[in-house]
């Protein structure tokens, strides 16, 4: 519109009124409507395919989610089992790591904890301290004492007075 505006403004001067009306008429022309018959089949097919695809896709998606859920449950169980197994092994390891266990194993091999040790200074090669070989006398008691027996299991001895047998009469318990 902006391109025609200067022309229209100038029209009163360049053309008579009739020509102006003709110009207006020439612009607004009623044209016959074009009616076209779009083919329906491709559209219906297209929509059907989309619908079918959607349903099938949804079904497959759902199935795969279900399958993943089954798999997850199975893997979860497996993870629990493996976790339990790992913990059991760690427990065994802790028992083996127990200083009492290590000390007992060392003693079975004939090792004794030394009481005095020397320090070798790597720079000077000097030995300080008073290293002494360990002997059997340095052995420590490795086992702590067990629990004390409850008093009920350790009753005082029962004392009974017995009369000495005299003149062939058998002894009687008083």
């Amino acid at each position: 519109m902006s391109a025609t505006s200067p022309l229209r403004n100038r029209l009163p001067y360049v053309a008579p009124r009739i020509a102006q009306a003709a110009l207006q008429r020439a612009r607004l022309t009623v044209v016959p409507r074009r009616r076209t018959q779009a083919p329906r089949v491709p559209f219906v097919t297209f929509v059907s395919i989309i619908l079918l695809g959607g349903v099938v896709g949804l079904l497959m998606f759902n199935t795969s989610m279900q399958q993943a859920s089954f798999r997850e449950t199975a893997l979860q169980n497996q993870a629990t089992d493996l976790g339990a197994q790992q913990e059991a092994l760690e427990m065994d390891l802790q028992v083996l790591n127990d200083p009492a266990h290590v000390a007992a194993a060392a003693e079975r091999l004939g090792l004794v904890m030394p009481t005095g040790a020397g320090v070798l200074h790597l720079g000077s090669g000097k030995i300080s301290g008073d290293p002494q070989p360990a002997t059997g006398a340095d052995r420590l008691p490795l086992e702590p004492p067990g629990p004390r027996r409850p008093a009920e299991l350790d009753p005082p001895p029962v004392k009974e007075k017995v009369k000495a047998a005299t003149d062939g009469v058998p002894a009687t318990v008083q």
């Binding site: 339990a84 197994q85 913990e87 802790q94 127990d98 000390a103 320090v119 420590l140 629990p147």
Partner: protein, 585 residues
């Protein structure tokens, strides 16, 4: 047309009535019924924090355990066979299991068979049984099942059991019982260790979670780990040496404490006798505590180092200071004597300490102004809880006010008429080792909060200067004379070959039921290397056989522990000569 509308109206009215019934009358119960259908709620138990030693080795650990439960309605038909398998594989009692598998009546659908079984073992046993006893249609046996039941393990058994404690069920039988800490750190840090349980709700179909179903999870907040300053291997060695020392001397009980001089961290805190944390119920309840904190006693002559260091700090004494020490000192209520008979001796202050003379110490302490010694003793930490984080600590008694008479003051100067616990005494002697600065003893690395809300640990430990560095050094030099061979010192057995050692013996009478019963507590406290101390060790043996002394019983134990600790932490001898201050003049 109108009939059609009428029909629709009738149908809608029926719907509306049903709606009112569902939403108006009792909406909750219906909602609940809907929720129960296919919805499963699972508790997510918080994992209890571990208790670790200073090197991260577990002292108390939690593993995934299971309880095996039975449905007697199903199991009673095959009870004997099941009981045989269960007793063989789970170690449960055959007859008790048989009874439970056959229970009828109220408990007829749920019976415990075994609790706190390691998960893999329990799962395996139950899976095998389900397979072996499956029914005609091939369905697995439904009479046995497992449920989660976390299992607490104490892999080191007796090592540090007095500190770690154990877990157990609280409350009486038959009540709703919870698993809580019953002793030691498990008890005092129960909340810190246990965390907060969570919950998961989800919908299930055929045993599997429905992917897009309702699903809410409140995650469990796991308990925090508690890292101790204890060195597990050193603790084990300490307990062994302590056991040997107590049994050899015919003693009743003993305590050994090893403290890092510079940081105040306790590397070992041993009690004898002790118990097995993995099997506590077979032992006396009295053993569940740490007697190094709960039991107080008179420290005896070990306390003399505090008196003498205070004298030096106050400018009232020095190591060559000369004293004429009579055999007996007659004071107001009763004469004070020494453990050995002697005439008047000419001893230096170093000699008084080296020979452990009560009379000499009283004479030296006479120079204190009123209240001065008490001020020093409280600054050394006596009479106040050490705050290690274990429950049941006793403060000990340092008399004050009118109770501090001149006779009591005399006796306190050489370690009687006051009571301490072993950790207090260790920290006090450590003050001298640490150049006069007392650092709080600690048992927990970092910071943690006990159930009563107190923050403890190495991060919150404080230190304060008690005596000057010079006074601490002078006291150390005097303490070095104690471990010299007779006739200079009284505890040559405490000498660690190759190292300079400073220490002090103690032999005190025991107060039982308010009076001295004739039995003794012998002890030795010291540190090494004397000229650059790294560790302070205190050994106490209660009630050894008659004739025992701190030098002969606790001294050698100290030497063994110190030698091992120095070796373990790679501390080289300083190579300097020990102090030679004369003990007589």
């Amino acid at each position: 047309m109108q009939i059609g509308f009428l029909l629709i109206a009738i149908v809608l009215s029926v719907f509306a009535a049903r709606l009112v019934q569902l939403q108006g009358v009792d909406p909750r119960s219906y909602a609940q019924m809907a929720a129960q259908e296919g919805q499963r709620t699972v508790d997510l138990p918080a994992t209890r924090g571990e208790i670790l030693d200073r090197n991260g080795k577990p002292m108390a650990a939690t593993v995934d355990g299971r309880m095996v439960v039975a449905d007697p309605k199903v199991t009673k038909e095959v009870a004997p066979e099941l009981a045989t398998i269960l007793s063989e594989r789970l170690g449960v009692d055959y007859f008790e299991t048989l009874r439970r598998l056959r229970v009828e009546g109220d408990g007829g659908r749920f019976q415990y068979i075994a609790r706190q079984v390691p998960a893999s073992k329990a799962e395996k046993v139950v899976a095998d049984i389900q397979e072996e006893f499956k029914d005609d249609k091939g369905r697995p046996f439904a009479g046995l099942a497992t449920e989660r039941d976390p299992l607490r393990t104490y892999p080191n058994k007796t090592v540090a059991a007095n500190l770690v404690g154990f877990l157990g069920e609280n409350g009486k039988a038959g009540e709703d019982r919870a698993i809580v800490g019953l002793a030691g750190l498990e008890d005092s840090f129960n909340t810190y260790l246990s965390g907060k349980d969570g919950e998961a709700r989800y919908e299930v179909g055929a045993g599997n979670q429905i992917p897009l179903g309702d699903n809410t999870v409140t995650p469990a907040v796991d308990g925090k780990n508690l890292t101790l300053t204890i060195d597990r291997d050193l603790q084990y060695y300490t307990q062994r040496v302590l056991q040997q020392t107590v049994t050899k001397s015919g003693g009743e009980s003993g305590i050994a404490v090893i403290q890092d001089t510079r940081t105040g961290e306790l590397l070992a805190l041993a009690d004898y006798p002790t118990y097995d944390a993995a099997d506590p119920y077979r032992y006396d309840k009295g053993l569940y505590r740490s007697s190094a904190l709960t039991d107080v006693y008179e420290p005896g002559s070990v306390e003399k180092v505090l008196t003498i260091s205070a004298l030096v700090d106050a400018g009232l004494g020095f190591k060559e200071q000369r004293f004429k020490v009579p055999g007996q000192l007659n004071r107001q209520d009763r004469p004070i004597g020494d453990y050995w008979d002697h005439g008047t001796l000419k001893l230096t202050l170093a000699g008084i300490l080296a020979k452990s003379s009560n009379v000499g110490t009283v004479l030296a302490a006479d120079q204190f102004k009123k209240g001065q010694l008490r001020g020093y003793l409280t600054r050394f930490g006596l009479g106040a809880r050490t705050g290690l984080g274990l429950g049941g600590e006793t403060r000990g008694i340092v008399p004050q006010g009118a109770a501090w008479t001149s006779q009591v003051g005399d006796r306190i100067a050489f370690g009687q008429s006051l009571s301490v616990n072993a950790v207090q005494m260790t920290a006090a002697v450590n003050t001298i080792a640490n150049g006069g600065v007392r650092v709080d003893p600690t048992l927990v690395k970092g910071a943690a909060r006990t159930d009563d809300g107190t923050a403890i640990g190495t991060d919150v430990a404080t230190s304060r200067r008690v005596i000057s560095e010079d006074a601490a050094r002078e006291t150390m030099l005097m303490m070095e004379r104690v471990v010299q061979p007779s006739p200079i010192g009284v505890a040559p057995g405490a000498q660690v070959p190759g190292y300079r050692v400073a220490g002090k013996t103690g032999t005190a009478q025991r107060v039982v039921d308010g009076r001295y019963d004739g039995s003794l507590s012998v002890s030795f406290a010291g540190f090494a290397p004397a000229d650059d101390p790294r560790f302070t060790i205190y050994v106490v043996v209660h009630r050894p056989r008659a004739g025992s002394g701190g030098g002969s019983v606790a001294g050698p134990a100290f030497a063994k522990l110190m030698s091992y600790t120095l070796r373990r932490y790679g501390v080289a001898p300083s190579g300097t000569k020990p102090n030679q201050t004369p003990v007589e003049w």
